[in-house]
């Protein structure tokens, strides 16, 4: 990446207008706070903006920061409408409180769900500052202008910094939302520019800002040992021997709550049974595990075997077994009977783990009636209610503090480690820092489910895709519905686009817990669908891009005004942009190939082209071009970073990541058996942002799904081998 061209320059001079603040001081005598009526009309008060006497403007980001940049981008939206100088802005994580609404990070939703609210919060604040100035200067409010944290009145030349006006402004009634006008995109000064992550300096200097860094006086350290076969129950253990080890304070069995351990982030406070070791430091707790011997009751434990799950799923697809229909449109039988060409291929993906760099850990103080939780959860909003049920205390007695998460990717949506720590803290009577080992994190994940798709396409004599069948085999704990992330979700394409579509599923038994993994279902289904479209184009002797554009068609919005819906114009634009940037159709050296894929997920229309070379089974991914339309750009640098990172993460996952299961237990335990992509393997990533002017949508997930099919399509074009199973290491391929 070249040096950013568009960065906000540090040219503000806030000192030249410094005037002291006299009112609305807090007990510290230095800070004033502006509170605004809820922009979500719930009637409670929100507090997002604090303006200090020194001119600094603190903006609270309500949603958890796990690397998606939301504690920079949400405050940017407020700052834009507030006309605050970004140099004055200090971004802070909001406390977890009802007035901040849905405080969670998932589904790439933070930006779209907060877009209107954050703009109104900023605009209302700006309006109140202008009202205060108008009153003081006895001038009409509509003659005032704001820029870089200053209100000015051009006819008289008067001006004042926000810090001078905030005291008077905060005493004014909060204006009604419908009296506030918002900017149009052509008026944006900050949105769309490149702004470095608000925590960049703290990160680069090693400040203790992550969940793992939390501490409180009197805290002790804990490790929690669960049954390798998921769901097994601790019956007894050599607790006396463990308690006598150096540094160990206590060891005891935690009964846990009854399974199954479903991925239920809203209601669940499930805790698996295990043995807690409480010690004076992390190492003493870890080391004591080597001496721990536990007798497990396996009667309710999982007996999963990933090889068996795969064999059963593939057999079900081969026999065309179907237990329930998911979608049907048109007349599929006729489309296939009259086709001049049919294509039939089965795709599969393995279980994978989240493997975020920061293993699960949390600090909980549940020893007294005042319960405190310090966590990097993606769903702090769901902790209070569930913890109150688990501990049988009132929700009001629980305080949850948000800390930065060392990667989320869906792993931190579930809060079971918080509940574990709470039970341990209550039993020991002290604040407990529970630290999962990497091995715990890999063994007790809510994994990405394995998926199996048998796709069939019918192409008529004009070379047009007219029929589509998808037979899905889904892992299922109860045999009636797919486990989380397994199976298929009704996407607009092909169901609403191709005239004749039939999609059905059957189930294979699996008790291994699965959950949301960056772009759930999309990230695996895109591989199957977009590889299959390339296969069909090849078999029909058509250019892949042309075939893809023709299949998507030109209906425009599939569901008018629904941002999550397919818009064929947006799709076309990104496909054309990516292929143009990559030089689609250019002549390549022997053993080189370009591959294309498009996917819509989380409202983001994304096309990617990969250029690879293949030598034997060794694949080098040289370049990836990403064209992305996620609507109005908020932070260009943050967006580019997400797109670049999604490419690397996608390549990392497709290369050699697989979780295998024997006797209900996870085989892999650490990065030596579960490799992440390393720098020498990572490609150059070229980003093309297509700004369609639509409302902004999230960027954390949608760029990941197209990566695997783009690379596999490129590999096919380079060497003629079609990869139909992920990771590609199963077919002997490696990324070098």
């Amino acid at each position: 990446m070249n040096k950013p061209q568009n960065t906000i320059a540090s040219t503000d001079r806030r000192d030249f207008l410094k005037v002291s603040l006299g009112l609305a001081l807090t007990s510290t005598g230095s800070v004033s706070m502006m509170s605004f009526a809820s922009a979500t009309a719930s009637g409670s008060l929100n507090a997002y903006v604090h303006i200090d006497t020194d001119g600094s403007i603190t903006i609270f980001g309500p949603n958890p920061e796990v690397g998606q940049g939301v504690n920079t981008s949400l405050p940017m939206i407020v700052a834009e409408e507030l006309d605050a100088s970004w140099d004055d802005v200090v971004c802070k994580a909001a406390p977890v409180a009802q007035q901040y609404g849905m405080q969670f990070a998932g589904g790439s939703l933070s930006i779209p769900m907060r877009w209107d609210e954050m703009r109104k919060v900023g605009a209302i604040a700006r309006d109140m500052l202008c009202q205060a100035a108008a009153k003081d200067w006895e001038v009409p409010k509509d003659q005032l202008v704001t820029n870089r944290s200053v209100v000015s009145h051009p006819p008289t030349g008067r001006q004042a910094p926000y810090s001078d006006l905030v005291a008077a402004a905060s005493l004014l009634p909060v204006p009604a939302q419908d009296t506030i006008s918002l900017k149009t995109p052509d008026q944006y000064r900050l949105l769309g520019k490149r702004v470095p992550n608000a925590s960049a300096q703290d990160i680069a200097t090693g400040k203790p800002i992550f969940g793992i860094d939390a501490s409180t006086p009197g805290m002790v350290y804990a490790s929690f040992v669960k049954c390798p076969a998921i769901g097994g129950v601790a019956k007894s253990a050599n607790l006396t021997a463990v308690k006598s080890l150096p540094g160990v304070i206590d060891a005891f069995i935690v009964d846990g709550t009854p399974g199954p351990y479903n991925f239920d982030i809203r209601e669940s406070f499930a805790v698996q049974s295990g043995v807690a070791i409480v010690a004076k430091n992390t190492w003493a707790a870890f080391k004591a595990r080597d001496s721990l011997e536990v007798q497990w009751d396996l009667s309710s434990a999982s007996t999963d075997d990933s090889d068996v799950i795969e064999a059963q799923a593939l057999a079900a697809l081969a026999s065309e077994k179907m237990q329930s229909e998911i979608e049907r449109t048109g007349d599929v039988d006729t489309a296939f009977a009259t086709a001049s060409l049919t294509v039939d291929a089965t795709y599969s993906t393995d279980f994978v783990s989240h493997a975020q760099l920061e293993p699960q850990g949390v600090l909980v103080s549940a020893a007294t009636a005042d319960v405190q939780v310090w966590t990097s959860s993606q769903t702090p909003v769901f902790i209070t209610q569930n913890l109150s049920k688990l501990l049988d205390v009132t929700p009001e007695s629980i305080t949850v503090h948000q800390l930065r998460g060392g990667g989320g990717f869906g792993r931190r949506l579930s809060n079971e480690y918080v509940f574990e720590a709470a039970l341990i803290s209550r039993r020991i009577g002290a604040p407990v820092k529970l630290q999962w080992k990497r091995e715990d994190d890999m063994a007790f994940d809510y994994f990405r489910a394995p998926t199996y798709y048998r796709l069939q396409g019918a192409i008529d004599r004009n070379g047009k895709l007219t029929g589509w069948k998808n037979l899905v085999a889904a892992a299922s704990a109860d045999g009636e519905k797919a486990n989380y992330g397994a199976g298929y979700r009704a996407f607009d394409f092909p169901g609403k686009v191709i005239p004749n579509v039939a999609i059905g599923q059957s189930f294979v038994p699996s008790k291994t817990p699965t959950g949301a993994w960056r772009a759930p279902i999309s990230n695996v289904y895109a591989f199957a669908e977009q590889s299959f479209i390339a296969e069909m184009a090849h078999n029909a002797d058509q250019d892949h891009r042309d075939f893809l554009l023709d299949a998507i068609g030109d209906q425009g919005w599939i569901k008018e005004g629904d941002m999550a819906s397919l818009n064929t114009e947006r799709a076309r634009a990104v496909i054309e942009t990516a292929t143009k940037a990559a030089g689609w159709g250019r002549k390549l050296a022997e053993g080189r190939g370009l591959g294309l894929a498009f996917f819509l997920s989380h409202s983001g229309h994304i096309a990617e082209v990969a250029e690879v070379s293949v030598e034997g089974k060794r694949i080098t991914v040289h370049d990836v071009w990403v064209a992305a339309d996620v609507g109005q750009v908020v932070n260009l640098s943050g967006l580019e970073n997400q797109l670049q990172g999604s490419v690397v993460d996608g390549l990392s996952t497709m290369a050699a990541q697989t979780i295998t299961i024997k006797n209900g237990a996870i085989v892999q335990s650490n990065y030596d058996q579960y490799p992440l992509l390393r720098m020498p393997q990572s490609p150059r990533v070229h980003v093309e942002v297509v700004d369609s002017g639509y409302r902004p949508t999230g960027a954390g997930e949608p760029a990941l799904p197209p990566l695997a099919p783009a690379v596999c399509n490129a590999v096919f074009n380079a060497c003629g081998e079609r990869i139909r199973a992920l990771p590609i290491s199963k077919a002997g391929f490696t990324i070098v």
């Binding site: 690397g67 990172g645 990065y671």
Partner: protein, 168 residues
């Protein structure tokens, strides 16, 4: 009992299990939490510090074996102003979650100490031990290249100043 010089200050690890990895001694005993736990088996590089100037995995060093040695952590990489790499990390907006970045910076800083103008291959080789699941490798490379230029310029400046002082 091991006495270790950490960022220029002597720390005595009294009554500490000598088999405790330096990682946990730094985090839990010495209160330096810039160093991060990622894997505990020397695979991810999040715990990278310098031991006598060499980048190394602190999860693989037993604190009892380090008596008299010198350790530099991210907190001690630069006194006063930011290290050129830290500056470049901010300017290039490298981090996403940021958890691995202290380790990345310590590996990169060791590289620039021994090779002020690294080639792309040098960077790849020096950084191959540091994992980033957010996938910021491209930005890390750019930041290292930029810092290399800045550092070269400032080193030349200081060399010239020193030469001037000597000749004066």
């Amino acid at each position: 009992m091991a006495t270790i010089n950490i960022n220029g200050t002597e720390h005595s690890f009294k009554d500490v299990d000598p088999t405790m990895p330096l990682l946990w001694a730094l985090r839990d005993i010495a209160g330096m939490q810039g160093v991060k736990y990622g894997c505990g088996v020397g695979q991810c590089g999040a715990c990278t510090v310098w031991l006598d100037g060499m980048a190394t995995r602190s999860c693989q060093l037993k604190v009892g074996s380090l008596d008299g040695r010198s350790v530099t952590t991210i907190e001690g990489l630069s006194s006063g102003s930011l290290h050129p790499l830290q500056q470049a990390w901010i300017e290039h907006d490298v981090a996403q979650c940021g958890y691995c970045q202290a380790g990345q910076i310590m590996s990169a800083a060791a590289l620039l100490e021994r090779k002020p103008r690294p080639t792309d291959d040098d960077i790849d080789n020096a950084m191959a031990g540091n994992l980033c699941r957010c996938g910021t490798y491209g930005r890390i490379k750019s930041a290292i290249r930029a810092a290399s230029e800045t550092k070269m310029a400032s080193d030349l400046f200081y060399d010239a100043m020193e030469a001037a002082e000597v000749s004066a």
